[in-house]
């Protein structure tokens, strides 16, 4: 029989053994276990998301015919506007192609647009992530940019069989090379200012001293297209404050982000068509 003192300490001895076994476990096994446990719970998340879609469908069925007719008229107006934008876009693309050929420039990165439903939002002070309902089955890749109508949503960080995890632009782990709209000089953007009762904000660093921004005269911040997978010109947010950094060489400030990021139900993943370009 074990001495009484050891018997009392047995729970901690067991924990020590588990800890030791964990430390000695090869990384491949840990990665495999993580993926396995994620896939175990994935059906719960996805089923829940489909149930929400069904709920929305049935609540939409309750709309009257008058409401639907009104919505149809609004949609017709939007379609006309989009048709015009499409023509302009085609023309611009052909101009770009012509210039690329004339100047012998390398082609711009091209993407496939993959719309995906948001299955789960997980916004805390530690991290800001969401799970989308598409994964390897739709060719989603790790690092792919995720966007919505208001600009950048985030970046795909984990891809599973039929779900993917997106690290949001509001997350403290999210960093991106950006630029002030109309400028070519790059600045550094980082998320992470997520108060409980204020809309999300990010921070911006290495802003040149000749750029000014205030709450009443904010500067639009967009992706720079440098050092990453994000194409240039996508909206990040608005720089609302700028003040000199501690070294006095640059400015740092706050970026106000889109409030809709917290209620997104559908996003678009930009799947690179030539991943080797990135």
């Amino acid at each position: 029989m074990l001495p009484k003192r050891f018997d009392q300490a047995r729970p901690f001895a067991t924990l020590g053994i588990i800890l030791l076994a964990w430390l000695l476990l090869p990384l491949v096994l840990k990665t495999f276990t993580r993926a396995t446990f994620f896939e175990i719970q994935a059906p719960l998340t996805v089923t829940d998301s489909y149930a929400q879609d069904l709920q929305t469908f049935w609540s939409n069925r309750l709309h009257s015919k008058d409401e639907l007719l009104k919505a149809g008229q609004d949609m017709a107006g939007l379609f006309a506007a989009y048709d015009y934008s499409k023509q302009i876009n085609q023309e611009t693309e052909s101009d770009i192609l012509r210039l690329e050929n004339m100047l012998n420039l390398p082609p711009l990165p091209t993407f496939r647009f993959e719309p995906a439903r948001v299955a789960r939002r997980d916004f805390s002070g530690w991290w800001q992530r969401m799970i989308i309902r598409k994964g390897e089955n739709y060719g989603i890749t790790v690092g792919a940019p995720v966007i919505f109508a208001g600009g950048v949503v985030g970046r795909v960080t984990e891809v599973y069989h039929y779900t993917s995890v997106v690290d949001l632009i509001t997350s403290p782990t999210f960093r991106l090379a950006a630029s002030v709209s109309g400028e070519s000089r790059p600045v550094s953007y980082q998320g992470g200012l997520n108060d409980s009762f204020k809309s999300p904000r990010g921070t911006v660093e290495f802003v040149p001293l000749d750029i000014f921004a205030t709450r009443s005269l904010p500067k639009h911040l967009v992706t720079s297209g440098l050092g990453g997978v994000f194409p240039p010109g996508l909206t990040i947010g608005d720089i609302t404050t700028l003040e000199p950094s501690a070294d006095g060489l640059f400015k740092t400030g706050e970026v106000s982000l889109d409030e809709r990021l917290g209620t997104l139900t559908e996003v678009t993943v930009l799947v690179p068509l030539n991943p080797e370009e990135f």
């Binding site: 009392q8 300490a9 047995r10 729970p11 901690f12 067991t14 924990l15 588990i18 800890l19 964990w22 840990k30 990665t31 276990t33 993580r34 993926a35 396995t36 446990f37 994620f38 175990i40 719970q41 719960l44 998340t45 829940d48 789960r120 939002r121 997980d122 916004f123 805390s124 002070g125 530690w126 991290w127 992530r129 960080t157 690290d167 403290p172 782990t173 980082q190 992470g192 200012l193 997520n194 108060d195 409980s196 009762f197 204020k198 809309s199 999300p200 921070t203 409030e259 990021l261 917290g262 209620t263």
Partner: protein, 185 residues
């Protein structure tokens, strides 16, 4: 023939149910309006509750199985180093196992107190681990504090229900949680 002991499975399923309910709540609490406040965002964390029943009612071996599996599920879902929850929940579990003989472990009030303290420990430990990446840790702590208050309040409300759920599941399976023997309720 050796009988299969399903206690760990019952408690693990209950933990999975709780995780699903809380993450569904977090999905909707990511952004909402409340009274005159247009923008609210709250994240509930109830990790402390996962370890209460397994440490206070199950035997040591079954408890360790439940804690390990629950920890692995949480680790697979959150961007923490894999194994963090296994170790943190394991530490809570070991501490409770060490002292459980001295306490009225079948009482609901004691369960609530344990859940609240365990949750507080887990939130603080996770915060120290994660807050370093934030560009302004001071503001992050403020958000974590608000989330912690909300989580503790939710824990206060749901712990008696969750304990009763696990107890009832054991009754339905006609198994005594500590001994694993078949019992007639």
């Amino acid at each position: 023939m050796r009988r299969v002991d399903p206690r760990w499975f019952i408690v693990f399923l209950a933990n999975l149910l709780l995780w699903w309910l809380v993450s569904t709540a977090n999905h909707y609490l990511a952004r909402f309006s409340f009274l005159w406040i247009d923008y609210c965002s709250i994240h509930l964390y109830v990790g402390g509750l996962f370890g209460v029943y397994s440490a206070l009612r199950l035997d040591s071996k079954q408890g360790w199985i439940v804690i390990s599996l629950t920890g692995l599920i949480l680790d697979s879902l959150e961007p923490v180093p894999f194994g963090t929850h296994v170790i943190l929940l394991g530490l809570v579990h070991a501490t409770l196992l060490y002292g459980r003989r001295r306490f009225p472990r079948e009482g609901a009030i004691f369960g609530i107190v344990v859940a609240l303290f365990a949750n507080l420990f887990l939130v603080i430990a996770l915060s120290f681990l994660m807050v370093g990446t934030n560009p302004r840790p001071g503001e992050a702590w403020l958000r974590i504090f608000v989330d912690l208050l909300a989580s503790q309040f939710v824990l206060l409300v749901i712990t008696p229900w969750f304990q009763a759920l696990q107890e009832r599941a054991m009754e339905m399976a006609r198994i005594h949680p500590t001994t694993g023997r078949r019992v007639a309720f």
